[in-house]
């Protein structure tokens, strides 16, 4: 209780904390929403890849002084195109193509940054976030990017739904399924950029996958899954920032651990597909079989 009131007091006092928590909440919402589509498309690995692949773009943008957003989307999308090209034009399987391309991009980023030590770009902060550095203008750009992504999802919900559920039909009625894929990859790059300071490149995939997967266990309606997923994203953000403030640990990791904890709880207790429910069913079935054996 004491901790909570201390946190709330500090929240009123420190601008950086306000910025951090608002940015984290926005990241929680947007990752939660996009994450549902990533999960349902079976693209968790792709999400991981694209988030890592923004590193060289971010580094170059830092050195040359242009927008991180532009740098990140360029290398993110180039990597996605490279992955598609390799897996379509050779017998290399998709997951291997992902493994080859994103590690290459990531390594390039690390080389670029370590070759330019002294320019003030902190590799650690890009990889794991630096919540103290969230400025008000960061919050504003996070807000606008989130708004645009959410609006896009709202307007193209039908197209996203059908190309996710049945890509063959989507293509057969003339939807540009490839374009949709690459726009989604571009969105992933954007999401990584806006998550850069709060969770960082390495852990952002957790914010994409874990809240969505949690929601997936709890419902079988997509709109509800999206809503629940962003609620879990928001709760992880708030609780995570709180815990990192009180215990003085890294914010991104703290947010992710909260999300993981929520996942484990729902994995165990989910009324539909949870472990306890399955256990219960097994016991019930066993009893049924035993009693029918007994009767027969």
């Amino acid at each position: 209780m004491e901790n909570i009131s201390f946190f709330i007091q500090s929240l009123g006092k420190y601008q950086y904390l306000q910025n951090a928590i608002i940015a984290a909440i926005l990241v929680g919402i947007i990752c939660g929403v996009i994450g549902c589509f990533i999960i349902l498309r079976g693209m968790a690995l792709m999400g991981d890849a694209i988030s890592h692949a923004v590193l060289p773009g971010v580094a170059i943008a830092h050195f040359l002084g242009f927008s991180l957003i532009i740098g990140a989307t360029i290398t993110g999308v180039i990597t996605a195109i490279g992955i598609g090209f390799i897996s379509q034009n050779s017998k290399i399987k998709h997951d291997s193509a992902i493994g080859i391309m994103f590690t290459a991009a990531f390594a390039l980023g690390i080389v670029l940054i370590t070759a330019n030590r002294g320019t003030g770009v902190d590799l650690w902060h890009i990889l794991f976030g630096n919540v103290l550095a969230v400025s008000t203008s960061d919050v504003i750009s996070v807000f606008y990017i989130s708004l645009i992504i959410l609006l896009g999802i709202f307007m193209f919900y039908k197209q996203l739904l059908i190309s996710t559920f049945d890509p063959i039909m989507a293509k057969s009625i003339g939807l540009p399924t490839k374009l949709i894929h690459y726009v989604l990859m571009l969105t992933l790059s954007l999401v990584t950029v806006i998550s850069l300071k709060t969770v960082g490149i390495v852990l952002v995939v957790a914010m994409l996958i874990t809240p969505g997967a949690t929601a997936y266990l709890l419902t079988n309606k997509l709109p509800k899954m999206i809503l629940l997923s962003s609620v879990f994203g928001i709760s992880s953000a708030i609780i995570g920032v709180y815990l990192s403030f009180i215990y003085d640990v890294a914010t991104g990791a703290s947010i992710v651990l909260v999300a993981s904890t929520i996942f484990i709880l729902s994995f165990i207790f989910s009324p539909k597909q949870g472990m306890l429910k399955n256990k219960f069913n097994i016991i019930k079935n066993k009893n049924l079989i035993e009693s029918s054996e007994f009767n027969g």
């Binding site: 193209f156 197209q159 059908i162 057969s172 003339g174």
Partner: protein, 249 residues
């Protein structure tokens, strides 16, 4: 012109593996056409090529005298059930509503006409009571009917069904076949991919027998002779009481 589909010298390959080789045929409208051949004989590939879903190496495909991309709305597709994720968080009704998407403006929601057509389609195949269920909660036969209902809702002229009878109960199979016959009476053209020969005779007006190449096309009696079947199924056929039998693969 009565020819609804013309395929000329079409070849398709995946990384050097030829799935369809130099296939040519044309089909009159208003029939039920069976595309038959063992697993891996290029049936799905041929269908995808006709529907313009994959690049063809060579050849020309025309539907109602037009290239496919001009005529997509008129073609509906019932996917092979194994290609669908039945854990997907979507209800029966929502799946069928997808059939209306080609008729909706891209940002618009379903209107009353769309909803009525979805309802009628669900009723026609007999899964209306389950419209709120998640698709994975249905039996295999019911799932197949849902995807047929989606094609009905699309109000297409030509339907492609990929292995609609695989792994479903006989009652559902009969029901689906009844609906296909009814659609034919309404003037539609239906392509049915099928790998089980045993019932092919009663189901299809025309049979396309495939083994990466076109082996034969025509009516049942012309196509399903021992000569052709040996080419296609090799050791899997036998003759029992003067009836050709093919072991299920």
């Amino acid at each position: 012109m009565n020819k609804i589909i013309e395929v000329q010298n079409v070849s398709v390959s995946y990384n050097n593996l030829k799935a369809c080789e130099n296939i040519s045929f044309s089909i009159d409208k208003n029939q039920i056409i069976g595309i038959i051949g063992p697993n891996g004989s290029g049936k799905s590939t041929l269908v995808k090529a006709i529907m313009g879903l994959i690049k063809i190496d060579d050849g020309i495909i025309k539907i109602m005298d037009k290239p496919i991309y001009k005529i997509r709305k008129k073609i509906a597709y019932v996917p092979q059930r194994s290609n669908i994720d039945f854990d997907f968080p979507i209800s029966v009704e929502e799946v069928v509503m997808m059939g209306r998407y080609p008729h909706m403006l891209w940002w618009k929601k379903a209107n009353n006409k769309d909803k009525k057509i979805v309802k009628d389609s669900l009723n026609m195949v007999g899964v209306y009571e389950k419209r709120k269920n998640q698709i994975g909660e249905l039996s295999g036969g019911e799932q197949q009917k849902v995807f047929l209902a989606r094609a009905l809702a699309q109000e297409a002229e030509i339907l492609f069904l990929d292995e609609p009878f695989a792994g479903i109960d006989i009652a559902s199979e009969n029901k689906i076949m009844d609906i296909l016959k009814k659609l034919k009476k309404e003037g539609k053209t239906l392509f049915v991919v099928h790998h089980d020969l045993n019932k092919a005779g009663n189901y299809f007006d025309i049979i396309i027998l495939l083994k990466n190449k076109l082996i034969e096309l025509g009516e049942h009696d012309k196509v399903l002779n021992i000569n052709n079947l040996e080419k296609v199924y090799k050791d899997k056929i036998s003759i029992i009481n003067n009836n050709l039998m093919v072991a299920n693969i």
